[in-house]
Symmetry: C2
């Protein structure tokens, strides 16, 4: 290992003191312009690089933040992370990404290892509605800012950035109704998670507001997976009185729905219409492009990062948790556009 130059080396070299060097390097005001220039020049010359570990130890900050998501191989989460990075990198922070793969133990394990890695904050989208709240509270107690995005949990003093899932679902369902569909099914997901509950409620409200019959047999709780969506759709299609449209809480299950519908020889959107949620890129690239609800993930990530930056240097007392809600946008494509054909 090549010995790294420290401020001591520079000091020695210049006949100064490490303290002076430190000050010069940090642009401390009470230092003569002359020594500042001199120090900075020699620092460059000697290939000096600040030891972030020492700085971290001293300041108590690691300049690392943890981001926990269910998975990174979805465009939505990848984009949120990108938004976070865009705000945080320029401020000198690094992002440690952890995946839970939708497993509670992983979620807890990730939180613990991030805390023991002394991250300055944790930005996360929760995996499981059942995860005991006390693990989250323990984060707050350590005065490590905790910020939820997308999948949140109501916890005192914890900020969150979400979209208006109710409204997104409402818009999507209304759009189907306007197209003339009357029996609209809903592929839901674990409704103990707020996002799925709210999407369900938005769907339901749109149905009721339009004077359509709200039929519980048309609601199926499934997973955000292609195969799960396909299986659930099979059940829907085998109903005595099957739906003429499906609003899915996930693009992945929407894709499964489309597969099943096609395999049964039905036409989309003539016989049955499909709308997804998240605006994953594949919805645009399918031969039969899928109508979906955009969640502006990059924006969500940026906002989450900004809230973190606000909170990071405040004490627990002075900070005010904020609940930011972004507006979703319905992107209409072929899978639901009857009039276009």
């Amino acid at each position: 290992m090549v010995k790294k130059t420290t401020i001591y080396d520079i000091a020695e070299n210049l006949g100064l003191t490490a303290a002076t060097v430190s000050r010069a390097l940090n642009n401390n005001p009470k230092i003569s312009e002359k020594t500042r220039k001199l120090v900075q020049k020699t620092a460059l010359l000697m290939n000096y690089e600040q030891n972030t570990l020492a700085k971290a130890l001293k300041s108590g900050k690691s300049y690392n933040v943890g981001v926990i998501v269910p998975r990174i191989d979805s465009n939505f989460f990848a984009s949120v992370i990108r938004g976070i990075e865009e705000e945080l990198y320029p401020k000198g922070y690094h992002v440690i990404i952890c995946q839970t793969h939708d497993q509670e133990e992983q979620e807890i394990g990730n939180i613990n290892s991030l805390l023991s890695a002394q991250v300055d904050g944790i930005l996360m989208s929760i995996t499981n509605a059942q995860t005991k709240s006390n693990i989250f509270e323990s984060i707050s107690k350590k005065n490590v800012p905790l910020i939820f995005f997308d999948r949140k949990k109501d916890i005192a003093n914890v900020s969150s950035i979400t979209i208006d899932d109710f409204d997104g679902a409402y818009q999507a369902t209304k759009h189907l109704i306007k197209q003339g569909y009357k029996r609209i099914a809903h592929l839901s997901n674990d409704r103990r998670l707020e996002i799925f509950k709210n999407r369900f409620l938005g769907y339901k409200q749109a149905i009721l507001d339009s004077g359509l019959e709200y039929d519980e047999s048309l609601i199926i709780e499934t997973h955000s997976k292609v195969l799960a969506g396909r299986a659930s759709t099979k059940r829907l299609l085998s109903l005595e009185n099957p739906p003429d449209a499906i609003f899915s809480t996930s693009d992945f299950s929407a894709l499964g729905a489309i597969q099943e519908i096609k395999s049964q020889g039905l036409r989309i959107p003539e016989d049955i219409s499909v709308v997804g949620f998240s605006n994953e890129p594949f919805t645009r690239f399918m031969e039969l492009s899928i109508t979906s609800v955009d969640q502006s993930p990059i924006e969500m990530g940026r906002k989450a990062a900004l809230v973190f930056l606000e909170e990071v240097d405040k004490s627990l007392k002075t900070k005010k948790a904020q609940q930011i809600v972004l507006q979703p946008e319905l992107i209409i494509r072929k899978s639901s556009l009857k009039t276009n054909l």
Copy 2:
């Protein structure tokens, strides 16, 4: 901020010395079983947590490794990362993920900030063939293990984990030839990157070995994007003597190819056949599933992590760079399976 308990607190509490506490906590052999138990119990009682920053400062290790990839929202890279995590987490390492978004400046910037964050190693898939080698050499010089996966560069003393891209391409092309296709086009990519060069060479060799005509006009250099693939395919189809099959170096451009082919009213695979590369999940889920080459990304990630673990504690002198090559697997699906119809 709640004051954290340190080994001093424990020592004081027990009338011992910090050194003893440290030893007890680290299971140092020369410590009595009695004090060990006692210390560990009180540590638990006092909610002691080791300060990783201090440990890092002392040991010179951060227990962070950097992973740099072009992007994380592709299943391939996400899976490699997963493989890396699976090996490294149990060893106490954390993974800092950086994206280059295929931009050289980002690549350099990421490397520098990872180095200044004092990561213990960098695992990366390079973005740009042109990136000056000296930045990579500067990593090695600092005795920070550098390991390439997938997209590598030949640099002395740097290990790499790749698949046999030549063979993957060879298999894919041979498969098309066996199906009876005679004019096989190739959607390539920047061939200054080894993976794309090797895939091209594998394709070419398969053509030559089969006694088919090698026609340069059937080779197009494009990008791993749907729209780029589509545009390139348009050019191919407008040739005087258009191809009857396309082997794409990317699943994304293969998808674009399929879109273009369909939009021109041609049938797949009857009129023209398509094979991709990477085995992205969507290739399986399309109504017209896409034949592709699997790169066993999780395995690749695990291997990369293992090589890192081997190298991390060795000095520059004693370590031997290894070039590990994994075997790709051709996954045959509808987009190329003529005989099945």
